[in-house]
C-alpha cells in the first residue's frame, strides 16, 4: 500500500487564530484546502475555499461527501474557554460528534482525521503525578467544565478510531497557550495578579507557532494516536508573573476556590474558568516524549521562551496580505465592510 498523502483537506474552525495560522501554513503543502467556520476568517487566503458551516449541524457530513474530503482537521474545539457555559459543550462534544458522523459513513472518503484537544483534559489536582503521559487521562475524575467536555469528546474520538480502522486518527493535546486571547494570558497580564495563598505551581506552555506547526506536521505526516504537545521545561507561576512585570497578590483563600472565582468576577471583572483555577493552584505538566519519538520533532519554544515571547508582545505574528489583491480577497473585504456598515447602522438605530 502506498503511503497516504492528503489531497483534499477540510479545516474546521479556520476563523480562530490557530486555524488561520494552520491554513496559512498548510495551503502551499496540499493541493486543495477547504475551510469552514461560523465566523468570517480573520484574513483571507487565496488557496483556501471558505464555507460558512457550523460543525454543530449535519451539513458538515454533506460537505465531506460532496467535496470528497480525504483529510479532516478538526480545530473547532474550545480547549481554553473564557467561561464555563453550555456553548463549550455544544461546540466540543456535539460539534465533534457531528464531524465524526460526517466522516464515518460507509463509503466515506476520509482517510485521516486530526482532532485538537487540550491539556485541560487531564485536569489538575494534588493527587496527580508530576507528569501526565498520554495514557493517564482519568476517565473517572469528577470533572467540571471544559475537562469534562474534552473527556467526553476524546471518548467519542477513540470510539470512532476503533470502528473505522481505515481512517487514521491523530489527537493533539495542545498545552496551555499564551497568546493574547487565552484565559491564562489575560490572567497573567493583569497588573496585580491575584493568586491562591500558598500555591506556586509549575506551568507548562506552548507557543502559538509550535501549536500550528504540530497540527501541520500531523496532517502531512502519518502519526495515528494521541500526543501531548507542549514546550520543554516549566515556568513557576510566580516567575511567569515576574516576567510579565506584574505583582503577585496572594489574596485568594486556598480552599473553596469557586468562591474566589465568583468574587473575582463580581469585583474585578476577571473570568477564571474552573480548569484555570485548578491549574494555577496545582499545576499541570505533560510528558511529550511520545510526540518527540513519533514526529521526530519537538516544540521550538520552551515554556520559558513562550512566556518571554508573550512579555515581549511578539506572540502574535501578523499574517501579511498576499499581493496582488485577488478576487476572493476583494469579495471577503467587501463582505466584511458591508457587515461593518450594517453593524454601524444597527448600533445607531
Amino acid at each position: 500500500m502506498t503511503p497516504f498523502t492528503p489531497h483534499r483537506v477540510l479545516l474546521t474552525g479556520v476563523s480562530n487564530p490557530l486555524g488561520a495560522e494552520v491554513a496559512r501554513r498548510l495551503a502551499p503543502q496540499v493541493p486543495m484546502l477547504f475551510g469552514c467556520d461560523v465566523a468570517d476568517p480573520v484574513s483571507a487566503l487565496e488557496e483556501m475555499d471558505f464555507v460558512h458551516a457550523d460543525t454543530r449541524l449535519s451539513v458538515i457530513g454533506k460537505l465531506v461527501r460532496q467535496l470528497h474530503i480525504d483529510t479532516v482537521v478538526h480545530l473547532a474545539v474550545m480547549v481554553d474557554p473564557a467561561h464555563d457555559d453550555r456553548s463549550v459543550h455544544e461546540t466540543d462534544v456535539i460539534g465533534t460528534m457531528n464531524v465524526l458522523v460526517g466522516c464515518a459513513a460507509p463509503s466515506s472518503p476520509v482517510r485521516r482525521l486530526i482532532v485538537k484537544s487540550g491539556q485541560a483534559i487531564y485536569g489538575a489536582g494534588p493527587n496527580d503525578p508530576s507528569f501526565f503521559s498520554e495514557d493517564m487521562t482519568n476517565w473517572d475524575r469528577i470533572a467540571t467544565g471544559v475537562t469534562r467536555d474534552l473527556l467526553e469528546m476524546e471518548q467519542l474520538v477513540s470510539e470512532f478510531a476503533l470502528r473505522n480502522e481505515l481512517c487514521g486518527v491523530t489527537v493533539l493535546r495542545l498545552g496551555l497557550r499564551v497568546s493574547e486571547d487565552t484565559s491564562l494570558a489575560r490572567y497573567l497580564s493583569l497588573p496585580i495578579v491575584p493568586t491562591f495563598t500558598g500555591f506556586d505551581p509549575r506551568l507548562q506552555l506552548l507557543h502559538e507557532d509550535d501549536a500550528a506547526d504540530a497540527v501541520v506536521r500531523a496532517v502531512v505526516g502519518d502519526h495515528a494516536g494521541v500526543f501531548n504537545v507542549a514546550g520543554d521545561g516549566v515556568v513557576l507561576l510566580s516567575q511567569a508573573i515576574g516576567i510579565m512585570g506584574g505583582t503577585a497578590a496572594p489574596v485568594l483563600p486556598p480552599y473553596g476556590r469557586w468562591v474566589s472565582r465568583l468574587a473575582l468576577r463580581m469585583i474585578a471583572g476577571v473570568d477564571m474558568p474552573a480548569h484555570l483555577a485548578d491549574i494555577i493552584s496545582f499545576g499541570s505538566v505533560m510528558d511529550c516524549s511520545r510526540l518527540e519519538s513519533a514526529f521526530g520533532w519537538r516544540p521550538v519554544y520552551s515554556s520559558r521562551e513562550a512566556m518571554d515571547a508573550l512579555a515581549l508582545g511578539k506572540q502574535a505574528e501578523l499574517i501579511e496580505a498576499p499581493s496582488p489583491p485577488q478576487e476572493y480577497e476583494l469579495q471577503v473585504y467587501l463582505q466584511q465592510r458591508r457587515r461593518r456598515q450594517h453593524q454601524l447602522t444597527a448600533s445607531r438605530n
Binding site: N127, P129, S130, S133, F199, P201, V234, Q239, G283
Partner: protein
C-alpha cells in the same frame, strides 16, 4: 568597519551600564553608600581581630569564625535570592537548587548543634548514578527527611541533593505544596519515582508513610508495615540499588500522646497530634525537642541482577521489602544501644 562611538555612547549601550544604572529616586550620599557597602567587611574584620584577642586571653576558641561565616553566607544567600527576580531556572519537577542551598545553612546548624547527628555509612551512597534510599519515618513533622538530606549534602564526599517522595496530601496544602516542590520533593507516585531514577537522582522514600509519622509515642522505634512493597518493584524496574537507612532520635522530637482525628479530618490532615506542648503552647509547641540523633546508611541491596520481569513477582518483591525492613529495624536497635541517652 566598526563605527567609532563616543565614550558616552559606549557607556549607554554597554550591558554593564544596564546593570549598574542606579534606580531613579532618592539616593543616600556617596560616603554613606560606600560605608553601607563596606560595613559587613569591617564588622567581620573586627570580629576576627576580637576572636584572635580572646583566644590569646582564654587559650581556646571563644568565637567560632566558621559559624559566623556560615551566618554571613546565609544572609548573603537570602539577599541574592531576594534580588534575583524571575531569572532562575527550575527543573521539570519544580526543584530550585539555589533556593534549597540557601536553607542548608540553617539545616546544617540544626544537624550539628541541635540534634548533634552522628552519621555512619554515608559512603554507601553512590557519588554518581541512581539509588533508592529507604528510611524509617517518625516524628510528627518530616524532620528525618530533612536531616537525611542534610547528612548527604554535608558529609558525603560528593554532596548531592536527595529527592524525597511525599504523600500527595501535602501537595494539596498551601505553602507545603510549593515549598516541598521547590526544595526537590516529588509526589509519591510510582511514575514520579521512575522518572527521578531514570534521571540518575537519589530518591528517598518512606514506605511507612503517614502511618510512621503518626504513630503514638508508646510505639516508638517499631516499624510499621512497608506499604505493599511498591518501592522494590520500582527499584527493580529502574535497576537502582536500594540503600536502607536507620534513623534514631526522630521519635522523641514530638512525643505524640494522642491523635484528634475529627480535627484532622476537618483540616484535611492525616492526623492531628497531641504532644505535651502542642497544641497547648500554640506555635511554641511546634519546636522539636533536642533529642540525640543517629543516622546509619546500610550497604546497598543490589537489584541489577534481577530481570525486569521480577518486578511483577509479588513473592520476590515482598521478600525483598521485608529484608529491607528487617535491616532498618535492626539498624534502629543497634543505634539505640549506641546512644547513651535520649537527650545526650
Amino acid at each position: 568597519m566598526i563605527a567609532e562611538s563616543t565614550r558616552e555612547e559606549r557607556r549607554r549601550n554597554s550591558r554593564k551600564a544596564e546593570i549598574v544604572a542606579p534606580r531613579p529616586g532618592f539616593r543616600l550620599p556617596k560616603p554613606v553608600r560606600r560605608l553601607q557597602r563596606q560595613a559587613p567587611m569591617y564588622a567581620l574584620q573586627a570580629v576576627s581581630a576580637l576572636s584572635v584577642r580572646l583566644r590569646e586571653l582564654a587559650g581556646r576558641d571563644v568565637i567560632d569564625l566558621d559559624r559566623i561565616m556560615e551566618v554571613v553566607q546565609f544572609v548573603y544567600q537570602q539577599r541574592e535570592l531576594a534580588h534575583r527576580g524571575p531569572n532562575y531556572a527550575v527543573d521539570d519537577f519544580g526543584f530550585d537548587p539555589q533556593f534549597t542551598e540557601s536553607f542548608l545553612g540553617v539545616f546544617k546548624a540544626l544537624y550539628r548543634d541541635y540534634w548533634r547527628v552522628e552519621t555512619t555509612g554515608v559512603e554507601h551512597v553512590p557519588a554518581t548514578g541512581r539509588a533508592l534510599l529507604v528510611a524509617n519515618h517518625a516524628g510528627v513533622l518530616p524532620w528525618d527527611g530533612t536531616m537525611i538530606k542534610t547528612a548527604v549534602f554535608a558529609e558525603h564526599s560528593h554532596p548531592r541533593h536527595i529527592r524525597a517522595l511525599v504523600a500527595s496530601q501535602f501537595m494539596g496544602m498551601p505553602v507545603m505544596s510549593w515549598f516541598l516542590r521547590r526544595t526537590g520533593q516529588a509526589v509519591g507516585h510510582p511514575d514520579d519515582t521512575r522518572r527521578l531514577l531514570e534521571r540518575d537522582e537519589l530518591v528517598l522514600v518512606f514506605p511507612e508513610g503517614t502511618r510512621g509519622t503518626g504513630k503514638g509515642f508508646k510505639d516508638r522505634y517499631r516499624l510499621r508495615r512497608f506499604g505493599r512493597g511498591g518501592f522494590v518493584s520500582t527499584a527493580i524496574r529502574a535497576q537502582a540499588p536500594i540503600i536502607p537507612i536507620s534513623v534514631v532520635g526522630s521519635e522523641e522530637i514530638y512525643p505524640m500522646l494522642g491523635d484528634l482525628s475529627p480535627l484532622a479530618r476537618l483540616f484535611g490532615l492525616p492526623y492531628f497530634p497531641v504532644t505535651p506542648f502542642w497544641p497547648w503552647l500554640g506555635p511554641l509547641g511546634m519546636i522539636p525537642l533536642p533529642s540525640k540523633w543517629r543516622i546509619q546508611f546500610h550497604p546497598p541491596v543490589e537489584v541489577a541482577h534481577l530481570p525486569a520481569k521480577a518486578a511483577e513477582d509479588q513473592h520476590l518483591v515482598m521478600a525483598l521489602a521485608d529484608d529491607v525492613r528487617d535491616t532498618i529495624q535492626r539498624g534502629v536497635y543497634d543505634n539505640l544501644k549506641l546512644r547513651r541517652g535520649v537527650f545526650l
